[in-house]
Structures are given as C-alpha cells and as structure tokens.
C-alpha cells in the first residue's frame, strides 16, 4: 500500500499498466515491483523447479524471484527483473513459469513431490536408458523447469554499442562513489561515474539519514548535479558495469528508454577503457534461511525500507522484522515513523539494542512461515518456546555481503573477514582498480565517504595528478553489530538459492555425498548457477557447507563470479551486427549494372560477384552458364575481375622480395611482361597463386585470388617486417584503386582495338605482356593474360571510371555476339583448362601434388622450398591432380566425392583420392572434373569409381589429363 507523505516519486501523475492482464496504476519513478506492491500484489511468479509461489525479495538488481516478461509479441522481453523495470505508460507485464495461471499452476504438484526431487535427483534418476536422456527426460524437464520464453520472432528493437575512455571510472554512485568521483574530478582527472540505478545515491536513496545536515538523498543529488556541471565528468545513470577485463577495459550496459516505446536504441553496451577504476559497488543484503522462507511477503529488511522511503510503499500493514544485526532495526524505526504497524523486531542476538518505538525480542529466531500464496503469519522460537504471530510482511536481514563480483572477474578470490562476517575484495585483484565503501566492507556512511576519498586519491596519484584536499561531510558512523546466523535449524525446507530452488538440506546432502568442495557442491545442487549467479545465496550456502564439513568459511572458499555481473541481452552484445551488419559488403563498380541485369549475387569473401546473367527464356542457371561459356569460346566475354587482390610492390629490392615469396624467378622477368607465380607457406604447402606484372625496373603489381588477398597481404607484411626487414621495398594494396575487367575470347582483340582506338599486334602484345594504355583519355593498364584458355586480356582503369568502362565493354561485346559471363561460366572455363582455384589450393596440397613441382626454381631459395622437399611431400604415392571424365551410364560428377579402384571394397583404407571441382562442359558436351588421385599422372586412361555416399551416387570415370581443352594452349597465344 502507498503511504501518504512518504516516497520521492511524482504522485500527481498516473501511469496505467497491466500485470497478467489486470489493469493497475503507478507513478513516474516507480518500478514494476514498487507499483505492484503499492497494489498489495505480492505473488509475482513461480519458482524455477518446484513452481512455488514467489514474491518480490529485493528492491534492486540482485532480485532472484520477481522475474517477469515485459511487452508482448515480438517486443516481449523475458526474465526481466520487476525491481529494475521502470514503469512506463501502457507497460504490459506477464508472470512466467506457470500454467494455466499464476494463481493456479498445474506444475506446482512438483512441490508436493519435492521429497523425491532433491539435489542430485536428475543425476541419479535419469541415468538409463541412455538414449532417453536427450529424447525424453531432458525435454520434459526443460518444459517443467524454466524461466520466460523468447518471443520466437526477430526482435524489432535496436540496441547500440559504444566505446568510452577515461582516466578514472567510478563504479557506483553511492556515498563512496560520489566522493571518489568528486576527488578525482577536482584533481583534474577525466572521470566517468556510472550507476545502475535511476537516481544517484546508492543505498542513500533508501535511507532516512543525514549527511552534512541534509537528507542523504538530497546530498547525493546535489553532489551529482555539481559533478555533472564539471567539464571533465561524465555521468552515466541506468548503467551497470557488467565485467572487468584486461588492461582496464570494463563492459557496461546502459538502459536507455527501457521498455517504453519510442525512437532510438533500447540499450547500449559500452566498452569503457579506464586508466584507473574505483569500485564502489555497495553491498547486498542477505536473507536468513528458515523453514518456508520463500513465501511472498518475506523480503529483505533493506528492501522494505527502500520501498517505504523511496517509493512510499509499505509491503505490509503489519510488519515483523527478523535480523541478526543493528542495521535492520532501521526498518522498524522507519516503518513506525511512517505510521505502519511493526509487530516486533525478532533479533537473534541476546544483546540486541532495545528501542522505545518498537518491541525488540532478543534471542528470537523465525522458524516457519504460514499462508497460502502469501504470508499471513510466522512462528518464532526463543528460549521459552515457539510462538506464532500474524504478520503480512517479514523483513529479514542476515547481514550484508559486499558486492565483490567485479573484483573476481580476473581470477581474484575474495578474503573473509570474521569481524564483519563477510567476504571483501582481495586488494589488487583487478590491476588499476581500487575498492571503496560497502563493497570493501565499510558499512557506515561516514566510512564509505572516507574510503571513497582515499581510493580516488590513490587512483589520481597513480596517474601523476595531485589530489586536492576534500573535507569529509558529516555522516552517521553506525554499522554492524552482527552475529552469525545463516540458517535457522529445524524441519522442512529452508531456501537458500531462490532462483534455482536450492535448500539448506540440499547443501548438506551434497556434503554427505562427499561433494565437499564448494565448486562440487555448486554443481551438485545447482546453487549459484542461475542468472543471478547466487548473489543472494552463495555466502550462506558456503557457510552451511563449511559447517557441514567441519571447516571454516575461509577454508571452504567461494565459487567463481564471472562476467556479466547481471544479465545482458544478446541484442545489446550483438548490436549493429544483425543481418547485413554482420560484415561489410564490398561492391565492385559494376555492381549496380550487374544487379540491374538480375544476376544472382554470390559472396566471395566480403565481395559480391555475379553468379550468372539470366536472359529471357532461360529457366535454369545451366542454360545461362552454357551460353556465357560460349561467348568466351566463340566470341568475346566480359567479366569484372576487380575483386582479385592487387598489390603494388616498389623499391630497389622489389625483385628480390618476389624471388623470396614466389617459387619462380621474378627478377629475370622483363619490364612489360607478366608471369604466373605460385606462393608457398613456410610449411611448404601452397598458399596462393596469381600473375605478377613488371611495370618498371623497381615496380611490380602482383595479383592474388579473391579469397586469399588479405592473407597474401599479411604474408608480405610479415616477410618484409620480420623475415627480411633489410629489404628496401614497399608493399601496398591497390585492389580498390583499379576497376579491372577480363575481356576474353577470339573476338577480344578487335573489341579492344575499337575501344582503345589502336592496333594491338601480336608482336607488340604477345601472350603474358602488359603495359599502359589510354582509354578515352584516361590512363589505364592492359594485361594480356588468360584464365579461360582463350585469347584474354584484362583492362584496368581508375575505379571512378569502372562503371562507365563496364557499360562500354558490355555494349561492344554484345554487338559482337558476346556478352557478360559470371562466376559459374568462369569456373567452367577454368576447369576445362585445368586451371586452379582454392578448391584445389585448399591448404593441404603441395606444388608436387598440383603437377607444379618443377615450378620451384632450383636457382634460388624461396619460402617453403626446404619444407616442400620433405620426403613425404614428394612421395609419388601422394594424391596428385588429374582430370576425370565419366565413361559409364551415370554421367554426374560431384565435388567432394571419393575415388576407388574398380572391384575394391568401399572402405576408407581403399580410398584413393577425392574430387575437388566439377562442371558440365558445354565445349566438350559432357561432365568433367578435377581430382586428386594417388599416383594420378601415371594413371591416365585407367577407369576409376567416383563414389558419393551422401548422395548414394557412383560414376565410372576415366582418369585423364587435367587440361581438357586445347592442351597446347594455342588459343591463348593466338
């Protein structure tokens, strides 16, 4: 219920929202949790495993229970913490893990069967039959146990990612963080102050206390505003720092417009690079385990205070407090001041402080709770026996756990402190990070303020800045008085991990079954394995394990906290990478004209290239491809070959570099000539091939395959920087500078002569020559090279003229009975000639395998030469390149199929090779293929069986020379 005169939200404005279809109203500044509590809605979900009714436990990001789905349809976002979802007008909120409704849930029978469902139940029960686990048990269990469901459709919401940089990152804007930011900012550091809340102050937002004579939350707001006015401070609210990574990098999730409809991204995932960081993450109140301590209406004492003081909501009308420390007495005090009835403070300590305002029962422990779907009473135990009282809200405090999580993200283990019964960060656990305040075990406001200043002082002095004098504000010094109480002994189930339904008994059972290591206990019971990583339960669980195993807490140790601190949506992590955002798209200058001709585009690396150019009346790609092959064989074909890598190599030692990286000699290449080159990796296997032209005495341009352009460039960088830094040579990519087109076919010369308005005589332009040309007044480059076996040329112009030249070439080719050819035709043309691509240069083949062993020049050394000469790599028994043609009834060839002798049994040991490239050759009128076959070149004429077991296909083939068409190469030289 709302309490008049309490809270700091705008009560004059009303926001309507629905929960499970029921209309409610709240105010700006409310969370879904505070708005539901204002309407006395206590039960908000069903537990993960036993489907027990659950309510709101906390008022912050550690909430394990109140997980809801927000939004509907494609916008639905499951597993949102009701304590973190800001109320916006028209919000649709739905409970989870219940069917048919929250009030009546069929699978709550699981709870009745609980005696059978304890820790290890699945491991022990569903062992056999083995095949049943995947098919029967696991799907059934997953349906029964669970969280919210994804919408099943693409999320239309956009998120973004970003990078920020600062000198000092302050994590948390409570008293410690605010003071740290103030000192760092006044020292002149570039500061980012991030807080996951919607207003600054941390715990101060929940408390009734004073700092420097002002209400603490006002003090926080004032300092926040002052910091915001400084040019060297950036404030980030609603920003959870989720992980600490190497070299001062932190991940942070900023919630922008929450679930409100509107423009712009919903969330932003930041990577913040900070020279230093101050962790002031505060602490999390831990519950005490007792029988049925998970009933809706039982929540942490600090949360009750927060709802009352910040949101003006009392979670109950008749509240009882159960604690083992002084801090929880504030809850009773604040409730009484607000006019809410407080039954009593049940304090486990026999020396607990007394109060004039409310009853304190010393030495009392709550040992049970009552009510159906919400709390209506509790039973507590004192030396004089058990007493049952009526109450509708129990505020529980078992002390506070410092929020050490980020300090553990790089392997640091927190350190136990007996005096405060809590783990604190290990100093230096994250390089460059200093911890301060409650997360460091300093629980009074005054201590937090002082630690914030001290931590920031250390950080700025590390950076060589001078820390200014900062006067510490006056604040409360009270803290603690804690007494160890983790679980109240007794019968029944006392819950530790609310999110994964783990009880005290489960932990003890783990110890009994010898899962005594804390990591084993975690895996056996699943404690701490839910999305909250056991924030509310880990310390209590290991304290109980310590007790059960007769060890101390420090000896028992902790499990590992890993990033993210709290869940991050995948949409935020993958922001910008949906669909085509996944990788850059590289378009050639002919892209628009190509797409306009309806060519299906295929991706080659990041490039888009045309597969074929369909024409009217053609119904299959083969028809188009065959026609395009015909252009090149009989007339003239045009193809954009810009995507091949082009590398400009200049310098006095350019020739020497090429001699090192290529198997062949390039220092002897004459200016104006082109030579085919084969490049090996250091291990002797083939890396890539291509042609290199000598444009000048000290100037070459190398071409690579499209696929390996980046790899070859990196290789050349490696060679020039690491292997031969002595070479005076410069290497730079010019792939993007030149638009380059292949002009191939018997009519290619007349086409070019017309275009260039010059004659290209065989004497001036023999096969494998190159030189500058002028195209319409523009200086270009012409290469007489062929990847089709026909008379072939490649003409290059600066890319700005690419689209224009493309149009001119196509128009001329079409007028001569030719036209465009795509990748399919290009592939057919090269297979007919036995030319190689990365289907053959697949990283496991050597020059020897390719029949190019003699291309490794004997006159000089080159990278990979020694390794390529290894015995096993020149073994004649190796699979070597051959051609295949079908000779039986079945004419189909399949790449990837394997080769077997006639009569041999089809088993791996009889495998003699494999097929790499196949096509239908319109030139020859049958299918052809390239393959690697053991002792292949000596087996021409032999019959071999091509077997594809995936397709159930067998084709009888003849082994032939891999050069199917024009083996003398006369057509290219023509």
């Amino acid at each position: 219920m709302r309490i008049e005169g309490k809270g700091r939200i705008d009560r004059s404005t009303w926001y309507g929202f629905t929960f499970d279809g029921v209309h409610y109203e709240g105010h700006p500044g409310d969370t879904v949790a505070s708005a539901l509590l204002a309407h006395d809605v206590r039960m908000v979900g069903r537990s993960f495993k036993y489907h027990r009714p659950r309510g709101i436990l906390t008022a912050g990001s550690a909430e394990p229970n109140a997980l809801v789905t927000v939004g509907s349809g494609a916008h639905a976002s499951p597993n949102e913490r009701a304590t973190m979802v800001e109320l916006t007008p028209g919000l649709q909120v739905t409970s989870q893990n219940r069917w048919p409704s929250l009030g009546f849930d069929v699978l709550s029978v699981n709870d009745l069967a609980a005696p059978f469902f304890g820790a290890g139940f699945y491991y022990k029960t569903f062992m056999w039959p083995k095949a049943f686990w995947e098919k029967v048990y696991e799907p059934a269990i997953r349906r029964a146990a669970g969280l919210g469901a994804l919408s099943g459709v693409t999320d239309p919401e956009e998120c973004e990612k970003g990078f920020r940089f600062c000198d000092v990152l302050v994590i948390g804007a409570g008293p410690a963080g605010l003071m740290a930011a103030k000192l760092a900012a006044e020292a002149g550091a570039d500061v980012i102050l991030a807080d996951e809340g919607t207003e600054p102050g941390g715990q101060l937002t929940a408390e009734v206390e004073e700092i420097d004579g002002m209400a603490a939350h006002e003090w926080a707001a004032k300092l926040w505003a002052e910091l915001g006015a400084m040019p060297n401070v950036r404030l980030m609210l609603r920003t959870t720092v989720t992980g600490a990574y190497d070299q001062g990098t932190y991940g942070a999730l900023e919630r922008l417009r929450g679930h409100a409809t509107g423009h712009g991204p919903r969330e932003c995932f930041w990577r913040i690079a900070a020279k230093r960081a101050v962790l002031a993450a505060g602490s999390l109140e831990r519950p005490v385990a007792f029988r049925d301590n998970d009933r809706p209406g039982i929540m942490t004492a600090g949360a009750v205070r927060a709802y009352l003081n910040r949101w003006g909501v009392s979670p109950g009308r008749n509240v009882t407090v159960f604690a083992n420390n002084d801090d929880a007495h504030r809850t009773a005090r604040d409730l009484v001041m607000a006019g809410v009835k407080v039954n009593a403070v049940l304090d486990a300590r026999h020396d607990a402080p007394k109060s004039d305002d409310f009853a304190v029962i010393r030495g009392a422990q709550v040992c049970g709770s009552h009510g159906r779907k919400g709390l209506d009473g509790i039973t507590y135990r004192t030396a004089s026996g058990e007493t049952t009282i009526m109450t509708d809200c129990l505020a529980v405090s078992g002390g506070w756990n410092p929020t050490v999580h980020l300090t553990c993200h790089m392997g640091g283990r927190p350190v136990w402190r007996d005096d405060i019964l809590a783990f604190v960060p290990k100093p230096g656990a994250i390089p460059g990070m200093v911890t301060a305040g409650a997360c460091n075990g300093a629980f009074s406001t005054a201590a937090c303020l002082a630690e914030g200043v001290a931590a920031a002082k250390q950080a700025v002095e590390d950076l060589g800045l001078t820390a200014p004098d900062v006067t510490l504000p006056e604040a409360g010094t009270e803290a603690g008085g804690i007494f160890p109480l983790w679980a109240v002994p007794g019968k029944g189930r006392a819950w530790l991990d609310f999110q994964n339904d783990v009880t005290v008994k489960d932990v003890k059972q783990a110890a009994t079954e010898n899962y005594q290591s804390v990591e084993h206990m975690k895996r056996y019971t699943t404690q701490g394995m839910a999305t909250d990583q056991g924030k509310m339960s880990s310390v209590a669980a290991l304290a109980i394990l310590a007790d059960a195993t007769g060890r101390g807490i420090p000896e028992t140790g902790t499990t590992t906290f890993r990033p993210p601190f709290s869940p991050i949506s995948i949409g935020a992590l993958g922001a910008g990478s949906k669909g085509s955002g996944f990788a850059p798209q590289r378009y050639t200058t002919s892209h628009a004209a190509t797409v306009a001709r309806n060519a299906p585009m295929i991706e080659a690396g990041l490039w888009y290239r045309p597969s074929y150019f369909p024409q009217a009346g053609e119904t299959t790609w083969r028809q188009s491809c065959d026609r395009e092959v015909g252009y090149v064989r009989n007339a003239v074909g045009i193809s954009d070959v810009t995507t091949l890598g082009k590398i400009d190599i200049q310098g006095p030692d350019a020739a020497e570099l090429l001699d090192i990286v290529y198997t062949g000699l390039f220092s002897t290449l004459k200016v104006g000539k082109v030579r085919y080159g084969l490049m090996l990796r250091e291990d002797g296997f083939v890396m890539d091939d291509g042609t290199t032209a000598r444009l000048g005495e000290n100037h070459y341009v190398m071409t690579t395959t499209t696929a390996a352009a980046g790899q070859v460039m990196a290789h050349l960088d490696f060679v020039t920087q690491v292997l031969r830094p002595d070479l005076d040579v410069s290497v730079i990519s010019v792939t993007e500078q030149w638009a380059q087109f292949a002009v191939a076919g018997p009519k290619s010369r007349p086409l070019l002569e017309d275009l260039l308005e010059t004659t290209l005589t065989a004497e001036d332009w023999p096969f494998m020559s190159c030189g500058p040309v002028t195209v319409g007044g523009v200086t270009g480059r012409l290469f007489r090279i062929s990847f089709s076996g026909e008379q072939g040329w490649e003409i290059a112009v600066p890319a700005r003229y690419g689209a224009s030249l493309f149009d001119a070439l196509v128009a001329r080719a079409e007028a001569m009975g030719g036209g465009l050819y795509g990748m399919e035709a290009l592939n057919v043309l090269r297979i007919e000639k036995g030319f190689l691509t990365h289907a053959e240069l697949h990283g496991r083949t050597t020059a020897f395998d390719l029949g190019m062993g003699r291309m490794i020049s004997a006159k000089k050394d080159c990278i990979g030469k020694v390794m390529a000469a290894r015995e096993g790599l020149v073994d004649p028994g190796r699979a070597q390149l051959v051609g295949l043609k079908p000779v039986g009834e079945v004419q189909q060839l399949v790449s990837g199929a394997h080769l077997f002798r006639e009569g041999a049994k089809i088993e791996p040991e009889n495998d003699q090779g494999y097929v790499t490239s196949v096509c239908y050759s319109p030139t020859l009128g049958h299918s052809i293929g390239l393959a690697f076959l053991e002792r292949g070149p000596r087996r021409y004429g032999e019959k071999i069986r091509m077997i594809d077991r995936t397709k159930g296909l067998e084709t009888l083939c003849e082994v032939v020379n891999p050069v199917f068409f024009d083996p003398e190469g006369a057509r290219a030289r023509d």
Partner: protein, 184 residues
Amino acid sequence: MIELVASTPCQGLLPLEHGPFTLTELTPGSLTALAPFSGQDAALSRALDAAFGLSLPDVGAATAGGSARVIWFGRGQYLLIGPAPVADLANVAAVTDQSDAWAVVRLSGEGADEVLARLVPVDMRPAVFGEGAAIRTYLGHMTVSIARDDDAKGPGYRIMAFRSMAGTLVHEIETAMAAVAARL
C-alpha cells in the same frame, strides 16, 4: 572516342543529416601513398616541403600546407591529399596512386565524436583527438583512416574507407548518427 564518365564512391548515398550531424562526401583531389625508401624519410620531407610547403607528419598526425595535406597512413606510409604528386617524390619514396581507392566522407556537427564513439575503438573527443590528429583504426568491422578536419563551424572528422565498402560505411555512420540524435 569513348568518353569515360567518373563516379564518386558515395554517389547517390550522401549527403545525410540527423539531428545536428551532417555526413557529406569529399572529393579531395589526388590521394597519393608515399612510402619513403630506406633512410629517405628526411629527403621525402624536404621534397614535400619544396613542392607543397609541408613536412612529413609524426605517427598519428597530419600536416598541411595550402590545399595540400599529408597524413600518417600506417607503418612507413603517408598519404598526400590534394595535389598530384611531383616527379621528384618517386626518387625517394614508393609513390602509389590511391585517388580512386578510398571513399572519403566528412562527419561534422556538435558532438560528432559521440557518433564515432558508437563505431570506433579510439577516443575521438576533440580534446583528445586534437587538431592535426590522424589514425588508422576500425569503424565497425572496416579498417579506416580518420583525421581531424575542422572548419569554421567547428570540429569535423574526415573518414576514409575502402571504396568498395562505401555503402557499408555510410550505413554504419548513418545508424550511429540516428542513434545519437535520438538521445538529444
């Protein structure tokens, strides 16, 4: 005689505006990569000074002289922007025409660094990435060169990406411009 028509890398894609941010295509004239031969850095600097009145910049920086600029362009590489190179340069450096290899855009507007903060893993705030700064880095998944390019209205950034990726470049920056503008 055939007449070849030139097109720019971002033709039909720019200019664009979102909130205070403007993205335009630049056509800065010639782009020439200069890689000094061994021990010729000083000689290249002198040759540049003689021809254009500017010197070789330091790593991560740019120099300007009249309409000419030279930006640091990677290890042992510089990019001369504006005028065509003079023949002398080829005596001391590898000279490579890159005029058509890059899409060149300019992002400007109050807070344009916030747009780049969505895309670039380098601190682009004007106070940090100061006047005369030039880097090679990533923009989304692309490698780019970014240089400060201020005008009378305030700070701007000249961003260069591979010509073939012009569409992706514009799309990425536009998305970030819209996202940042939505926060204003």
